[in-house]
């Protein structure tokens, strides 16, 4: 056998098969079988029949949507300021924005809990607000990084050209900057939206005693109901695939 370039991927393919494909297969088998091992669609139908699980799904999507929106609103100006900074060593500024990522996130959230407690007096009265603050705190660097990368790459001569052709500040932003930074926005959204939908640890730690999709799965497994738990995981996977499909389409254009 002659060495081929594709051999380099063998370690990853093995990793993928054992830790991604095999568990995925197990999840799918459980999702489409019942307690006695027979194939069934009742788990799937059951999910959409229960208004509580649908409500939980909608709530998770809503939490993820608001988190992403707030992240974007904070991250875009930040990335813009960073990229446009005249500071010679601007990677140091970037570093400052990313430093929180180096600290384990449960530690950060534990600290955040104390801060919020000092401000609010009693956390338990503001569960939704705390969830959003916690999630934004957790995911903000993931939005800043890709945005900074695209904004920093934008050729200044393009902006100059725009100005020469008579665009005002707003026009420059909306017809030059924003379209050029679209790939960064898209990957930022993927990095934030999808994990925000299932990241129940933040909710648990900041005391919103409501399920989002992640914790709902756990509750089924605790009740020995592996089939419904697997079905919810499968539905989430489907949603994630759907969103990435939409995103790819958006990028392609």
């Amino acid at each position: 056998m002659r060495f081929k370039r594709s051999f380099l991927s063998i370690p990853y393919v093995i990793f993928l098969l054992i830790f991604v494909m095999a568990p995925l297969a197990v999840v799918l088998v459980f999702a489409f079988t019942n307690g006695s091992g027979r194939p069934t669609l009742s788990n799937f139908i059951g999910f959409f029949r229960s208004s509580r699980t649908i409500a939980t799904l909608v709530y998770s999507l809503f939490v993820a949507f608001i988190t992403t929106l707030v992240c974007l609103l904070i991250a875009y100006p930040t990335a813009l300021a960073l990229a446009g900074s005249g500071f010679r060593r601007k990677h140091i500024l970037l570093l400052l924005a990313v430093v929180p990522m180096w600290i384990n996130f449960t530690l950060r959230i534990t600290a955040l809990k104390e801060v919020l407690d000092a401000i609010e007096g009693n956390l338990a009265f503001y569960p939704f607000l705390n969830t959003i603050i916690g999630q934004v705190y957790d995911f903000l660097p993931f939005m800043i990084l890709p945005l900074y990368n695209v904004l920093d790459e934008i050729d200044p001569s393009l902006l100059e050209a725009g100005r020469d052709l008579g665009a005002g500040k707003a026009g420059l932003f909306f017809s030059v900057m924003l379209p050029l930074s679209k790939p960064g926005i898209m990957s930022g959204i993927t990095m934030v939206f999808l994990p925000a939908m299932t990241n129940y640890v933040v909710l648990d730690m900041l005391y919103n005693s409501t399920f989002i999709m992640g914790s709902l799965i756990g509750s089924y497994f605790n009740a020995y109901d592996w089939h419904n738990g697997s079905m919810i995981s499968a539905i989430l996977l489907l949603l994630i695939a759907l969103f990435s499909g939409i995103e790819r389409k958006g990028e392609g254009r």
């Binding site: 063998i10 098969l17 509580r52 409500a55 407690d117 005693s209």
Partner: protein, 456 residues
């Protein structure tokens, strides 16, 4: 294609490799291997500082230098002239253990709670204890000699498929479900009822458990309040009601509790009590003792109360698994020897000190454990009061009395060793039947799921 074959072969090799180590049963004749799974932090792991040495009145010095596991291995070799190797692993909850077993992990000895023991009995997965295990005249039968007669009776009264729990399980730690509270913020009378979890006076200043059985129990006690208040109620029947009607009543109660609670937690409440975020918290007695100790160091005085309407008595116990022991008399003998070793009075003291929970072993004729209770909670002061826990040791009133500070009657001593009247109103919550389990799981998911605003 070749590449694919290569990859599949590698994976197949890897998988069989894993399989090989997992299901390997110990074959060597001279070394017995014992696979033990226990809750996290649920046995003395040693490493005590010298100043933590427990000095008992009879001159005994007890200190955990090495872990009880390695001490057991040494002891077994000395006493039986054979070598035993313990493969020790831990799990988080009873459900984790059950899932691990279902996924094919094999253990010889595990330590679940009473309801999980009943579930395993129902599924015929347990190896019964040998007759010899309960013989009190055997030299090393520390369990038979030391088990509290009262707690043995309570365990014996639990049956599954016509056989008592004690045929299969050796008790380990036990306790009650109650409320840890700050007496400056919460009236004792309020804390002595499950109603506190619905009381708007304490809105968002209390926590309940994020565990379906405990919180269901609290809701159930509120639902059955009237019946429980009648003269000589049948606690066990009332506090094990899982009928569809009751479950739906309890769902409403728990939903209100959730609204009223600061959080539903698994172990953050201990910290939240210390940092004054909450004033009362639903806890197991052992965690209660721990919280009271921790808070005391941080300058907050906490107390423990067991609800007056009736509460939960729980046990954790060691059971042998059939598919682990797999008929090996050597392994079974080593497993029972382990149970006896950890029931030896000094081992019991080490465990109780390290874990903070109360052992079912009271020592029988050996006074070590009683001495330890006096060492922890006793007092020589003039105003000390008498606290009678004779019922745990035998039937004679007044035979086992601790002289203690009056303060202890609401605090650690009361949490660790409640009085007889408290246990008389406590019931063990049995294993739910399969349909009841489905009902209660659905109820629990409903409570936690988000609701559309127009639905609530």
């Amino acid at each position: 294609m070749k590449k694919l074959i290569l990859i599949t072969t590698v994976i197949a090799l890897l998988l069989t490799g894993c399989q090989g180590t997992k299901s390997a049963t110990p074959v060597s004749d001279d070394i017995v291997t014992l696979r033990i799974a226990n809750c996290e932090e649920y046995i003395d792991e040693g490493g005590w500082d010298a100043d933590e040495t427990i000095k008992l009145s009879d001159g005994q010095r007890i200190r955990g230098v090495d872990s009880l596991i390695s001490d057991y291995e040494k002891w077994y070799r000395e006493k039986y002239g054979k070598r035993v190797k313990v493969l020790y692993s831990t799990y988080g909850t009873n459900e984790d253990l059950y899932n691990q077993m279902t996924l094919g992990n094999t253990f010889d000895l595990v330590c679940p709670s009473e309801y999980m023991i009943m579930k395993l009995m129902r599924e015929k997965r347990l190896e019964p204890l040998s007759r010899n295990f309960y013989k009190r005249n055997e030299l090393y039968n520390y369990y038979a000699k030391g088990i509290s007669p009262y707690l043995y009776k309570r365990m014996h009264s639990l049956t599954e498929g016509g056989r008592p729990l004690t045929d299969y399980a050796a008790g380990y730690m036990w306790g009650t479900l109650g409320t840890v509270y700050d007496p400056k913020k919460v009236d004792k009378a309020d804390a002595s009822s499950f109603e506190i979890y619905l009381d708007p006076k304490y809105k968002k200043r209390i926590t309940i458990k994020d565990s379906v059985r405990d919180t269901y129990f609290a809701g159930l006690a509120i639902d059955k309040e009237k019946e429980l208040a009648m003269p000589s109620p049948d606690y066990s029947r009332l506090l094990n009601d899982t009928s569809a009607r009751t479950v739906s009543m309890v769902e409403d109660i728990i939903t209100d509790m959730r609204e009223n609670a600061y959080s539903m937690e698994t172990d953050t409440a201990k910290q939240d009590l210390v940092t004054r975020k909450v004033d009362a918290s639903l806890q197991w007695s052992g965690d209660g003792v721990y919280s009271i100790d921790q808070a005391w160091e941080a300058g907050r005085r906490l107390c423990y109360a067991v609800p007056e309407e009736g509460s939960n008595l729980w046990f954790d116990g060691w059971v042998m698994l059939k598919d682990g022991i797999s008929g090996s008399s050597d392994r079974k003998q080593a497993a029972e020897a382990f149970l006896n070793f950890i029931s030896r009075p000094d081992s019991v003291v080490r465990n109780m000190y390290y874990i903070g929970y109360t052992s079912v072993i009271t020592g029988g004729r050996d006074a070590t454990i009683l001495d330890y209770i006096k060492y922890m909670y006793g007092s020589d002061k003039k105003n000390a009061v008498e606290y009678d826990i004779s019922y745990l040791f035998d039937d004679k009133k007044g035979s086992h009395i601790i002289r203690t500070d009056k303060d202890q009657l609401d605090r650690q001593l009361y949490a660790a060793y409640p009085t007889e009247d408290v246990l008389a109103r406590c019931a063990v919550m049995k294993c739910f039947s399969d349909p009841a389990n489905r009902r209660i799981s659905r109820m629990w998911t409903n409570v936690r799921c988000y609701r559309f605003p127009w639905e609530s």
